[in-house]
Amino acid sequence: MAASHATVDELPGAHSDDIPGTYIFDGKLAAKGYALNKMCYSFNDAANRAEFVRDEDAYCDKFGLSEEQRDAVRRRDVLALLAAGGNVYYLAKFLGIFGLGVQDLGAQQTGMTLEAFKAKLEAAAH
């Protein structure tokens, strides 16, 4: 189901070295993450979310996820999902299945508790 793409290493650089902790979702990551993002895009549909919940492995098979992507999916690990080419807008639909919102994602990625992450945001007002 996933289209074939140029080898990731043949494409121009994606990780934004000059902005710490920041990933620019460009052609390189979009090519790497195509199958993963396509699966997550399917979760716009409630029936697809239900099908995923019934049998995760079968659903990942259907979209041809790589081993790296399947492992990140299994672990619900946002940074690993990003490294595997996931785009946060599609990933949000996947993580939403488990009731995780963008603040939960923020806490997980920064290694903070949800309360500490919210406090950090409040502190930005001052």
Binding site: I19, G21, T22, N37, R49, F94, G106, A125
Partner: protein, 278 residues
């Protein structure tokens, strides 16, 4: 002839839609945010625009990476939202104005903006939340959605978005019907959802943007997308939608209202209401 009666920029965080649905406007967390909106609603009551051109970014509801336009314009009779994967409430459809849409498309393409056209287009929270803030569930304006790619880089540059706005302004001004049009830009201000830098907010930069959008938008067009990501966060680049709105307005504008609040969810929320200066 059609007339551009004003421009509004507002953030579009999905949590706002949930707060409205749950009636939390007076809740301690939400009150300082919602307090920004009554002056704009009062202006809309007075001005009563017939149509809204809504410039927003789709977050993976209507468009996927198989076919991702940089600029896309809706030309449908109506636009429906969806639950976006998180169970958001399904809202009554938003009326379109195909005749105005096709005029805008004709005018933009003649002006060398080769936009994608959509006769079916699902609209996400970036389109619906600002309208819920401005009009609630009422459907008092016809809408023309203008979607700008902020999902996959390369994104259109701030300068290009400003020029799109200029062309959009010419398109509205040349529409032969007697129509009052408001341009609404949604998104921003600074925020970052992904990466170890998630939760990044830059108040100083946002306040500068609010100032420059009004008085010197061309200063903002000199940033690259990468600089905007650095200064405003990966999702803070949404300020390019504000530049489309500003481009559609006159060189000189009057600022009627401004509001800024940190945080709404992960985002610094901004609001501006502008009219063309005589």
């Amino acid at each position: 002839m059609a007339r551009l009666v004003g421009g509004i920029c507002t953030s579009h965080i999905p949590a706002i839609g949930n707060a409205i649905a749950r009636g939390l406007e007076d809740d301690a967390y939400w009150r300082p945010f919602f307090a920004g909106y009554p002056p704009v609603r009062a202006w809309l009551e007075r001005t009563r625009p017939d149509a809204a051109v809504v410039v927003y970014n789709d977050h993976g509801l209507n468009f996927f990476l198989d076919n991702l336009p940089t600029f896309a314009i809706g030309a449908a009779r109506e636009y429906q939202n969806a639950d976006e994967g998180w169970g958001l409430p399904t809202l009554p459809p938003y009326p379109g104005d195909p005749e105005l849409s096709w005029h805008v498309i004709e005018s933009l393409v003649a002006d060398e903006f080769d936009v994608a056209t959509c006769q079916e287009m699902r609209v996400d929270h970036a389109f619906t939340v600002p309208q819920a803030l401005l009009w609630g569930h009422a459907r008092v304006v016809k809408t023309v959605p203008v979607a700008v790619n902020t999902v996959q880089h390369p994104l259109p540059t701030p300068a290009r978005c400003y020029k799109l706005g200029r062309a959009l302004g010419r398109a509205i001004a040349s529409y032969p019907r007697d129509l009052r049009v408001v341009v609404i830009a949604t998104g921003g201000l600074s925020h970052q959802l992904d990466g170890e830098r998630a939760g990044f907010i830059n108040k100083e930069f946002d306040l500068m943007c609010l100032e420059k959008i009004v008085s010197d938008p061309e200063a903002l067009t000199r940033y690259s997308i990468r600089e905007l990501v650095r200064l405003a966060g990966t999702q803070g680049v949404e300020v390019i939608m504000w530049l489309v709105m500003r481009g559609a307005m006159s060189a000189r504008v009057r600022e009627l209202h401004r509001h800024y609040h940190i945080p709404v969810s992960n985002t610094a929320a901004g609001l501006l209401l502008l009219e063309n200066a005589a």
